[in-house]
Symmetry: C2
Subunit: 375 residues, 2 copies
């Protein structure tokens, strides 16, 4: 056995997927803000802006995604863009599909805007296509929300074959794919797979953000989609928030221009890759025999505890032992199905964000968790 948990007296938090504090580029970002405000666009970024974001950053994103600039909307973080997109696409009672489990705040957002949210079981290589086809026989969703790379919460990456199947089903049944790809460039190993947008651009709306790649506090997220979606969405964004937050958007562009983005991304990978390895090792050591997706990037690993484990009142018991967990049920859109399907149930589902913890904290946390769930 390793050192006891008492050697780490602080709480260990396996709750939110936040960047490591030490990874936030205060000096580089400050330089960029200064350059923007002293530069030719200094006045522009302090004035009211239009057009769905800081135009030169929209241009950069248009180049990166091989789309036209009028297909890009930059907003105050991707969650708010998803909120407005849902307001635009969904009438009360419309159906939205998510992977099951899926990002809890996205599920909540779709519901708040009146959607009936149906979860399609997620396997270790992406959503269960047979289950999706069965669901499509009963419902045509307005859209399906997918996190194809290093999924939040499960860490799953959708396989190439399943991406192809999703692109085809969207076409066949006439629904949109909303792909949320904030972790995509944080790949620590393996090879990048195509975006859903690359497989079916007319049916895909891509949302992403700089929260995991530069800073969450700057709230710069973006959305790329077909013109007939993006144009009215820009109008709705302007009606809702009047204008974008320009200084931080312009500083993100400067961050790219100066080559800081690549340099920062490399540092993040150096910092996070060993943490992911520590998490995978700790699961295998302390909770042997559990099936889980071993991600090649991103922020999250998740496990489903075995039926026979002691998961009753786990959150409360963990908290008393200085281990903070998120309620697994929030990631399951469809509680009833989740109960019926023995493979996944929220009570036994534990998300394990690893980026903001040292390998030592990760190991200590998993040791605590293993003790708590011992039958």
């Amino acid at each position: 056995m390793q050192k006891t948990t008492s050697s780490i007296s602080n709480n260990i938090s396996f709750t939110r997927g936040v960047p490591a504090l030490e990874a936030l580029p205060t000096t580089l970002f400050s330089e960029c803000l200064q350059a923007v405000l002293a530069g030719p666009d200094g006045k522009t970024v302090l004035q009211y802006g239009h057009n769905g974001g800081y135009v030169p950053l929209k241009q950069l994103l248009a180049e990166q995604y091989h789309v036209d600039v009028d297909q890009v909307l930059i907003g105050n973080g991707s969650l708010h863009l998803q909120d407005m997109l849902t307001a635009q696409l969904v009438q009360t009672g419309d159906v939205v599909f998510t992977e099951q489990p899926s990002y809890d705040r996205a599920i909540k957002t779709f519901r708040r805007r009146g959607a009936k949210v149906i979860g399609i079981p997620l396997a270790l290589d992406g959503v269960d296509i047979t289950a999706l086809e069965e669901a499509l026989a009963r419902y045509t969703p307005r859209f399906m929300y997918i996190v194809p790379d290093f999924q939040n919460p499960a860490g799953v990456t959708t396989s190439r074959e399943k991406r192809q199947a999703l692109a085809q089903l969207a076409e066949k049944h006439g629904f949109y794919l909303v792909e949320d790809v904030p972790y995509r460039t944080l790949r620590y190993s393996g090879k990048t797979l195509p975006l859903l947008r690359e497989l079916n651009p007319e049916r895909t709306i891509t949302v992403s953000s700089y929260s995991k790649l530069i800073s969450p506090g700057i709230r710069v997220g973006y959305l790329i989609g077909p013109r007939d979606i993006v144009k009215p969405l820009i109008a709705l964004a302007e009606d809702t928030t009047l204008a974008p937050v320009l200084p931080t958007q312009a500083a993100v562009l400067e961050f790219h221009k100066r080559g800081y983005f690549e340099r920062n991304l490399e540092s993040l990978k150096q910092l996070y890759a060993p943490r992911l390895q520590a998490m995978i090792s700790a699961i295998k050591t302390y909770l042997p025999g559990i099936d889980f997706a071993e991600p090649e990037g991103g922020f999250f690993v998740s496990i489903t505890l075995p039926q026979e484990s002691n998961y009753q009142h786990l959150l409360q018991r963990a908290k008393e032992q200085g281990l903070l967990l998120t309620d697994g049920n929030g990631f399951f859109a469809d509680h009833l199905n989740a109960q019926a399907n023995q493979a996944h149930t929220g009570d036994r589902f534990v998300r394990l964000p690893f980026c903001a913890l040292t390998p030592q904290e990760i190991e200590a946390g998993m040791q605590r968790l293993a003790e708590l769930v011992r039958a």
Copy 2:
């Protein structure tokens, strides 16, 4: 007659109420951002934030408004706060009162969230209290939206007596007063009147922003209200946008701490006061005999053209003459009432924002307008 309009070849825009470009404090704000990012909260403001805004700025606002810090929510501009407030308070079909005319984007926001918006005629000293009482005999609104100081669009300041009446009616009939006060501190002459909040704090929700006082591009707006309103609204804000934009909020606090806020406010008054005077003089010179509120501050003067003037297709004809106007109808919530009431009708209503124009441009613009509406 003065110089002809041909001496100014550019378009003159009487459309949006934007600050003068030369008034945007690029250097001072950049200093503040640098100080924040180099300071003890540098990492904090780049990380995810909670609690409805940057806590030290919430503390400053709580002191300024004599409330507790948990009564303050800072968001990405006041329009979005009003959008979320409406989502929280209004069910589809609920009634909201506005002054008539009122801020067009606010009317649109309330409607988008399902409200039935009813405009109460605005006199030169605030809303018509008799008309308000008549409307209250028929409806109890969820809230009444009021811009008590230098109203957008009319430039009207609500008198002390009418503020008192509003506070009492809100109490008697059980509705909220949403007072929007972004221009309040931009007073160029005369004496400050009490906030509605000071007269009835339990029934008043105050919204304001730094858009007119520092910069619109930073999107820092705030809301002050009773705890039972603000607490769930903070939860809704967190669900909607996940986290606030922290660097600009922290820089606003630094702007205050360094004494830049007072200094900047004084410069704004020096710049804008002569522009207001130029607008008032130009109206009296070129459109003599029109009744209008002569504001003592803010961004707007508005006029209602006489019945006998030539106001048909005014926007289009003005545009052809290089004069950009906003459609007056957008400021009238209730078109039918507006038609019936000869005193106010959107077709004849012209808003005249003056801050971003030089006195010369203002005079030339008003001269063009007078020529266009000559019967």
